[in-house]
Amino acid sequence: MAERIGQFFAELDRRGAGLLPDKYTGTVLLELTQDDVVERWTLVIDRGRVEVRRDDVEPDCLIRSPRDAFARLLAGRQGVFAAVWRNELSVEGDIALLLGPVRDLMTRVRRGGSDGGP
């Protein structure tokens, strides 16, 4: 599980330039919790380019999730929309960044390609 989350961000870090269409811009802070430990990952999306950072940045969208729930989403075992309605993903700010680019990124990294778009 931990491995999958690490791989996800490593992959974003490695291939951040070629994954998203250039229409997306925004900063997403992911707060993943396990027991009392909170780990923070920031995705700075600038016209489709994704940069992974660990420093605190004021996000447009803050997503909080238990680590195991987030790992299930990355594995594709559950849908992102359902996870929001069920409160496994709690969102503040611009939820469109989660439903748009972040959802897209989860899929692309899992598939190992960038063939979701035209």
């Binding site: 709690s90 748009g100 979701g116 778009g117």
Partner: protein, 696 residues
């Protein structure tokens, strides 16, 4: 909705109750206070000194607000009532009721006012399917100092109903009691506030804080309704019925908008009570119908659908890259993926229609920016048509459900299980390529080509799309045409056999323009012939088909929105008299429904039933039915954008007389369209009398 129930609504919040305002378990219809696909109140019953109340009258103040005038006791006793009650309620993000008790006597009155409250937190999707299984979550009832707190909890999913009152009261687990003495000719009043909470996770406690906003909220809602009505074109006509329908439709379209969670402006929901959520097809069709009246509905709808476009291949959700949503629901069954509709993609028509709407929007507004913003999703949609939509390899858009447990068996607009059949009643094999899907695909490619040239700077892509559209049209007119029957097959079976039933789907073909000119008159003849046309509208299925049932959802009932697209198609191909005939039938039907056409009504012949016949359980109001009135007006006026000009080419019936649509918005600013009805309908059928009218 059951016509006997009284409703108020605002977006995806709505209240259904009986004529005294009470809510209690009811077999006929889902009474309750609903929000985000959950019933937050399932019992709400008012008594005075232990007695139920009786209704004198109900005032419909506006779509979110109503007032009941009541007296205690049975009907026979109220003539000399000493007490009467006014119950004034409104629904927005919360539900509020003011109860006023009037003492008409010369003596003081000791009164015990009791409101019984309970909540089952039922999921509307499951209510609709009739599920009565054991629920996995638990309902808690807590009597707190200031309120009654009811909640449903299943793991991280928590929904709460918090009931509080302004005046002193006793709260118990079953409701609230007010014990008061009202002076002679005096009155007593209390506000009761019901806060419906989608509780956030991670231990955050959301308290009932809306009390301070109640009054302001309602004022804002009234102002917003006034703005909505004032920004729409004004209709001036000799026909009072048409005027009523237009006003009713506009109000309902305004009411049926909800704020999706992604912070965009509000988008149309489907209809009440079963589709008070984002339904891709209903939202797109509503926007197409209303674009020259309320164009502000469209950008938010397109943006919301684009943000939810499919990004991966998934059997459960029937998701595929580029595919546009069929439905989004927020209830328990969606949240836990008991059912697939948290984001469900089981529709083969929403994706091409998305492109059609984007082009139509551009034509009516001149907005190039949105088209550029949605280039990515539009190209993905166009690619989906060929890469994922053609399941047989014959070059036709088709469907076969991927979720074999919960998926829809039919994935066009006629999505009930028996909606597609041969004339002899057999169900065709899968995948099914229904005819109207080919029309949409054809139209999407042509419109996509126009956008590629105009906004995306890609003429080579445009050429390719146009070539594909031309080839599809040729193929379609060859493979779907039934030369003996002289109409288009409803579908191709999985093995390529044409499905020979006569259906209303062929009307959509005229709208999309895929029909060869030499076949169009036969199609128009069938649409307005006795087998399909009832006199009120065009049935979904011809009345001599084996599966025909005048009360069958997609096997005989008449769907106004379906008819409105057909009327658009009839005019496109120059069948003005037929268009007017169908439109008039619908206008007449709307008059019987006080201007509010339900999603569908029975397919009985007009000669058989004096009134168009409603069936319980059918949505009303329903966005695409409200949109029907507007689209029919547009089509009969014959208004079309032509760059920054508006052209008018009316075909209006003599009966309607004068019809003027004033302040039509567009790149031209605001313009007016005028028509005087000159098309005379002959009872014997459409005669070849040319339509003439004046426009400017």
């Amino acid at each position: 909705m059951d016509p006997e129930l009284v409703s108020i609504l605002d977006g995806n919040h709505f209240v259904l109750s009986d004529d005294v305002g009470d809510i209690y378990p009811c077999e006929r219809a889902p009474a309750g206070v609903f929000s985000f696909d959950t019933r937050f109140v399932s019992c709400w019953r008012l008594t005075l000194n232990g007695k139920r109340l009786h209704s004198l009258s109900v005032d419909d103040l506006n779509h979110f607000e109503t007032r009941y005038f009541l007296v205690p006791g049975a009907a026979t006793h109220y003539v000399d009532a000493k007490l009467s009650v006014i119950r004034h309620r409104w629904v927005g993000a919360s539900f509020d009721e003011t109860i006023t008790v009037l003492n008409h006597d010369t003596e003081p009155a000791d009164v015990r006012i009791r409101i019984d409250v309970s909540a089952d937190f039922a999921d509307t999707a499951q209510l609709r399917l009739g599920y009565r299984s054991e629920r996995p979550g638990r309902i808690h009832t807590r009597v707190e100092q200031e309120c009654l707190r009811l909640s449903y909890e299943r793991e991280t999913f928590v929904r709460e109903t918090i009931v509080s009152a302004r005046e002193p009261h006793d709260t118990d687990a079953g409701g609230m009691t007010f014990t008061v003495r009202i002076p002679p000719h005096g009155r007593w009043s209390t506000g009761i506030h019901v806060h419906c909470v989608l509780l956030s996770s991670l231990g955050r406690d959301i308290r009932s804080t809306l009390a301070a906003h109640k009054g302001r909220q309602r004022v804002e809602m009234r102002a917003e309704l006034a703005d909505w009505m004032n920004s729409a074109p004004r209709l001036a006509t000799d026909s009072r019925d048409l005027s009523t329908s237009y006003q009713r439709s506009l109000v309902d379209l305004g009411a049926l908008r909800y704020p999706a969670l992604s912070l965009r402006p509000r988008v149309p929901v489907g209809g009440m009570p079963w589709h008070m959520t984002l339904c891709g097809r209903d939202a797109i069709v509503t926007c197409l119908q209303t674009i020259c009246f309320t164009p502000q509905l469209t950008p938010s709808t397109l943006l919301l659908l684009a943000s939810g476009h499919g990004v991966e291949s998934n059997d459960f959700r029937e998701e595929e890259p580029g595919k546009i949503l069929d439905e989004v629901r927020y209830g328990e069954s969606a949240a836990f993926e008991d059912l697939p509709h948290a984001a469900y993609y089981g529709a083969a028509d929403t994706t091409p229609l998305f492109v059609v709407l984007l082009d139509e929007y551009q034509r009516w507004t001149g907005d190039v920016e949105l088209v550029r913003e949605l280039e990515y999703e539009s190209r993905a949609a166009l690619r989906w048509i060929d890469e994922y939509g053609d399941l047989t390899g014959r070059g036709y858009l088709s469907y076969r459900r991927r979720n074999t447990e919960h998926g829809l068996e039919n994935q066009g607009w006629k999505n009930s299980w028996d909606a597609v059949s041969y004339a002899d009643g057999r169900l065709p094999g899968l995948p099914r390529s229904t005819c109207e899907l080919q029309g949409y695909a054809y139209d999407a490619k042509l419109r996509g080509a126009r956008l590629a040239r105009l906004c995306w700077g890609d003429p080579a892509y445009a050429d390719r799309l146009e070539r594909e559209a031309t080839e599809l049209k040729v193929r379609f007119n060859r493979d779907f045409w039934l030369p003996r029957e002289e109409y288009f097959a409803a579908a191709l079976d999985g093995d390529g056999t044409p499905v020979d039933s006569l259906t209303s789907n062929i009307g959509h073909l005229l709208w999309s323009g895929i029909v060869d000119e030499d076949k169009a008159d036969k199609v128009a003849g069938h649409l307005t012939g006795d087998r399909l046309f009832s006199g009120w509208g065009i049935r979904t299925l011809a009345d001599d088909s084996r599966r025909y049932n005048p009360l069958g959802t997609h096997t005989g009932m008449i769907w106004p929105f379906d008819n409105s697209l057909t009327v658009w198609g009839l005019r496109r191909y120059g069948f003005d008299e037929q268009a007017v005939r169908v439109a008039e039938g619908l206008f007449d039907a709307a008059a019987f429904f006080n201007g509010r056409l339900p999603a569908a009504f029975a397919g009985y012949d007009r000669a058989l039933t004096k009134n168009p016949v409603r069936r319980p359980g059918v949505d009303a109001p329903y966005s695409p039915s409200s949109g029907t009135t507007l689209l029919l007006l547009r089509v009969l006026l014959g208004i079309e954008p032509c760059g920054d000009r508006l052209t008018v080419d009316p075909a209006m019936s003599e009966r309607l007389g004068r019809v003027e649509l004033l302040d039509i918005p567009g790149p031209w600013g605001r313009l007016d369209a005028f028509a005087r009805g000159r098309v005379r309908l002959d009872d014997a059928g459409p005669a070849a009398r040319p339509a003439t009218a004046a426009g400017r």
